[in-house]
């Protein structure tokens, strides 16, 4: 065979292979697995929460046998290392290399914001059941970033502010971690509370990972307030609750917490010092709703611990996506249809035991529970609802347009109404 002949033959062979491969590839795209990229911090400061996020997703997918709308589901887990640069790199890997149809996850707001900015360019659907940064579903909304089964930072503290007024509290002081999530949670409470006639006496902002709260607790003890609101997550929450008790403030001032402060991930390790703390959230693992009870029981049986917000949120989030996919026949390739379907889906199987739907901005509307930490019969502590606010939107009772005209909550803007 001379060279020319060889070239001719091989060109023909390659062309034939190409035409044969093309329909095969199409067929595969239809029948192949739905690829879901899960970004989660498996290392770094919030690694324990990240592991529970994975559990939540796997717990759901195992319950449906890794099958959605008759298609196999392939879950690709990547570690975002609690670092936005790494999160960005891993998101690129999942989308560009792994050909994932969608991304879900991330815990820290900075990692979520980095990935959101990236998917704005690629159009990949990105679901954020944990990332609470207000503006992602408010002032800086990105169409393909949807907070399925998530919540905004200020969504639950708005009704909490109202509840505080109903308790007859006149003066509250806040102590919070000094970052956006803290500013938003405190802002929600401060705005509603002061607009209803309450007074925020003082606000303390401390850096993340504060080991010693005594300088703050000393000052709090001298204030004449009716209650103290603590916005803490993770190890800071554990330390604050312990030191609050050992400084003798427990019993002197009622302690109100952000939902993360009394989450299972925190109170699991605590004893009676966490007893009686009140916080507002959509999920209360100690609820007497039979659906919630069943979820909590099964989760506990499988993983040996009461589910935290991380496990619960990711479980509900992936369920939401699954219900939306069922409606469009599992066509995960069609991004627009998927986004549209997710936005329209009303989640029926939620462990909350109620139907949950999204508002016009891609953020869920919940019945908000005011929860109290109480001791269960077996000695473990959990959150039990004591009051409920039905159908709370991220805008509380404000008009969305007017609300979004005010600046986002920050250390300098807390929505406090001047008396």
């Amino acid at each position: 065979m001379d060279r020319r002949q060889f070239l001719k033959n091989s060109t023909a062979a390659v062309a034939a292979a190409g035409t044969m491969a093309a329909p095969w590839r199409c067929a595969r795209a239809q029948a192949g697995p739905i690829k879901i990229g899960l970004l989660t911090p498996l290392t770094g400061v919030v690694a324990s929460g990240g592991k529970e996020m994975v559990e939540g997703v796997q717990f759901y997918l195992e319950s449906v046998n890794y099958q959605i709308a008759g298609r196999k589901v392939e879950l690709v887990i990547e570690d975002d290392a609690s670092n936005p640069d790494t999160a960005l790199q891993k998101a690129r890997r999942l989308v560009e290399q792994g050909n994932c149809h969608m991304l879900i996850g991330d815990l820290l707001a900075n990692t979520g914001l980095a990935v959101a900015n990236y998917v704005k360019g690629t159009g990949t659907p990105y679901f954020i059941p944990i990332i609470a940064a207000d503006d992602l579903t408010q002032r800086q909304r990105i169409k393909n970033v949807i907070r399925v089964a998530g919540y905004t930072g200020s969504a639950f503290t708005h009704p909490f502010g109202d509840w505080c007024l109903k308790q007859g509290y006149k003066k509250i002081a806040t102590i919070s971690q000094d970052y956006t999530f803290g500013h938003e949670q405190c802002g929600g409470l401060a705005q509603v509370f002061t607009e209803g006639g309450g007074e925020i006496v003082q606000q303390f902002w401390h850096p993340l990972n504060t080991a010693d709260f005594s300088p703050y607790l000393g000052q709090l003890a001298d204030l004449k307030v009716d209650a103290i609101f603590a916005m803490e997550t993770g190890a800071d929450a554990t330390r604050l609750i312990q030191q609050y008790a050992s400084f003798g403030l427990k019993g002197k001032f009622p302690l109100l917490g952000a939902m993360n402060a009394t989450d299972q991930s925190v109170i699991r390790t605590l004893g009676e010092e966490c007893d009686g703390i009140i916080a507002a959230a959509h999920f209360a693992e100690g609820s007497d709703n039979p659906v919630t009870q069943k979820f909590t029981k099964n989760y506990e049986a499988k993983y040996g611990k009461i589910p935290s917000l991380y496990g619960f949120s990711m479980y509900s989030g992936i369920m939401w996506v699954a219900e939306a996919l069922e409606k469009i026949g599992g066509k995960a390739e069609d991004r627009d249809a998927l986004i549209d379907s997710v936005l329209k889906t009303e989640l029926t199987g939620s462990p909350l035991g109620t139907t949950v739907k999204l508002d016009a901005y891609g953020n869920p509307i919940y019945d908000v529970q005011i929860r109290k930490v109480v001791k269960r019969a077996d000695g473990k502590y959990w959150n039990v609802p004591i009051a409920s606010y039905p159908g709370v939107s991220q805008f509380w009772k404000y008009d969305p347009e007017t609300y979004m005209k005010q600046p986002p909550y920050s250390r300098t803007f807390q929505g406090i109404k001047k008396a």
Binding site: I77, N83, E96, L113, Y179, T180, S410, R411
Partner: protein
Amino acid sequence: MKIAGMTGRTAVVVLAILAIAAALPLALSNYQVGLATEMLIFGMLAMSIDILAGFAGRTSLGHGAIFGVSGYVVVYASAQAGLPPALAFVLGMAAATAVAIVFALLAVRTSGVYFLLLTLALGMIVWGICLRWTQVTGGENGMRGDVRPAFLVMHRAFYWAVLGVTTLVSYAMWRFVRSPFGLTLLGIRDSESRMKSLGYNVPLHLFVGFAVSGFFAGIAGALYAMFNNFVSPSTVALAQSVEGVLMMIAGGVGTLFGGFVGAAAIITLENVVSAYTERWQTVLGLTFIVIMICAPEGIIGTLRAILTRKDGDKGRYKGN
């Protein structure tokens, strides 16, 4: 025959490497092109650290901060202040150089572990400012924005642009360390007291060396901001400085171009290993231990030692 300061044989090798690097994106997927871009950027950062560590004998733990400041300024200037990308880029480099000058003023009179600690502390200050000055830097959340000019949005175009900049910067650094000035730095590394007694102004040389090194780190930082369209405190954090230093050490201290090899090795490890195990950081740590035991002079350093041993040389790089 000498071409641009290189012998004929070296020039051919350099051209061949450049040709391969330029052709690389044609064979790679978009994601891999992204990784290659990142390797070039971090290679530049590692090289800028090597100017101080390898040639002046002073290891800086503040270069991540200098690198990150440039990134912050680029994102702020283009996304918040609405300046054109080219101007933002120049401002980023200028800011990084300015920060490096401040660092240098404080640090050049120290050496050894004191230099290490002082640069570490200065880097932490920058990190603290980026974290706490929420109104400007966005605090923990960082800053986002479309920084890349329109013609560089595609992966390949951006890669080629970065490759072009990298080539220029590498050449400039190479000439810099081989210049009489660079040789003076080497002299300071080997014996500060001797250079002093010969009449050299040691602090001034170190000061200029630090500023130049910061300038190069700033270029890398500006490119990184364009690459990510995003910057956050983790870009200026100590971990970033440490990563740069590790890349330099893995490639080989005092080899300059070892920076690229180190960056490529670490970024590849980070991305390949993490696909198989969540314990990728452990694997990374073990790899470092192995490198330090088996190749204490780094990958390039060891290769060079093997090659020059063949030629009967003593092996240590003397700068010419």
